[in-house]
């Protein structure tokens, strides 16, 4: 299997997430926490995020129906979701949370509803893009094992070449002696 292609694909997907503003620097902070002891930490965090955010959006939708024009309550729910988005660097979602809260401040029901729809759209897009990204990373083994093996092979080969060259030079002697004709 061409792991280098898969790895390039994963890198491209991740770059797209940052370039398109779906993720920000905080996601890299989360990635930095992943290590050999927690090899799936990032995916675990993302799973928990979508579980939390799905629940929070659902709570908010219920509140919009059950407590009409209760902007303080709506704002409180959205504040929680904003904090959740901030923790993993879900930047576009966070911006929609802030837009919703602005609409609460302006007491605009229509504005709040519009922001919520945009938020749900961003939520679905981010979920789909991250699922694609993790699917590809699952298919490509971690660079630590593949690249490590490749480097070890390269280093061993280089060492063998150096040893052979040194032995050859010992046998041949200094370059001057080798070229001077025997007297």
């Amino acid at each position: 299997m061409d792991y280098s292609n898969l790895r390039r694909q994963a890198a491209s997907l991740k770059k797209g997430l940052f370039d398109q503003g779906h993720l920000d620097e905080q996601f890299r902070q989360v990635e930095d926490l992943q290590d050999e002891a927690s090899p799936n930490f990032v995916e675990e965090v993302v799973v928990v995020f979508f579980k939390d955010s799905g629940r929070l959006i659902s709570n908010l939708e219920q509140a919009l129906e059950k407590y009409p024009r209760d902007f303080n309550r709506w704002d409180a729910y959205m504040q929680q979701l904003k904090g959740s988005c901030s923790s993993i660097g879900a930047s576009r979602m966070k911006n929609e949370c802030m837009s919703f809260r602005d609409n609460c401040g302006q007491r605009s029901v229509e504005g709040c509803m519009g922001s919520l729809q945009k938020l749900k759209r961003e939520h679905a897009i981010l979920r789909q893009k991250l699922e694609s990204y993790f699917q590809v990373t699952l298919e490509a083994p971690p660079c630590q094992s593949w690249c490590h093996d490749r480097w070890i092979i390269s280093i061993n080969l280089l060492t063998d070449v150096c040893m052979f060259t040194m032995q050859l030079l010992r046998q041949v002697g200094p370059a001057g002696a080798a070229t001077r004709p025997a007297m």
């Binding site: 989360v30 930095d32 926490l33 675990e44 995020f49 904090g83 959740s84 901030s86 993993i88 660097g89």
Partner: protein, 134 residues
């Protein structure tokens, strides 16, 4: 719930946070900084831990939580005479700093918390603990 990292600094941290992903990320930061981490889901659980006689060197509070908020919990914990423990407010709410500092928090850090921000805070707690032991 208690979590312990390898090579503990013996800094006992209590994280009071109701949102799962925030709890996961922040607790992992604390573990990476070699703290012993206890988790509470709201302010009341935090207060109950202190009432049980549990001791902590640092407590990090989210602001808005069910049952009891972070600032409300700080008021109650300080009223128990817990003046030495470092209380840190953490929130994505732009108006949270005033809410925390007015009730006796030592510090406020906006969400998202970064390792670069948390590291020096933990180091300060370590230094203070060493000085107190001398």
């Amino acid at each position: 719930m208690e979590l312990k990292a390898k090579g503990s600094t013996s800094i006992k941290a209590l994280l009071v946070e109701d949102i799962g992903v925030c709890r996961l990320v922040l607790s992992t930061f604390l573990l990476r900084l070699h703290c012993e981490v206890t988790l509470a889901m709201n302010g009341k659980e935090a207060v109950d831990l202190f009432l049980e006689g549990k001791k902590f060197d640092i407590v990090l509070f989210d602001k808005d939580m069910p049952v009891m908020t972070g600032p409300e919990a700080i008021v109650k914990i300080r009223a128990m005479g817990e003046t030495d423990v470092k209380m840190v407010g953490v929130s994505a709410d732009d108006h949270a700093m005033e809410a925390f500092m007015s009730v006796g928090a030592d510090l406020f850090v906006p969400k998202p918390m970064r390792m670069e921000a948390l590291g020096p805070i933990i180091q300060e707690v370590i230094n203070k603990k060493k000085n107190d032991m001398v």
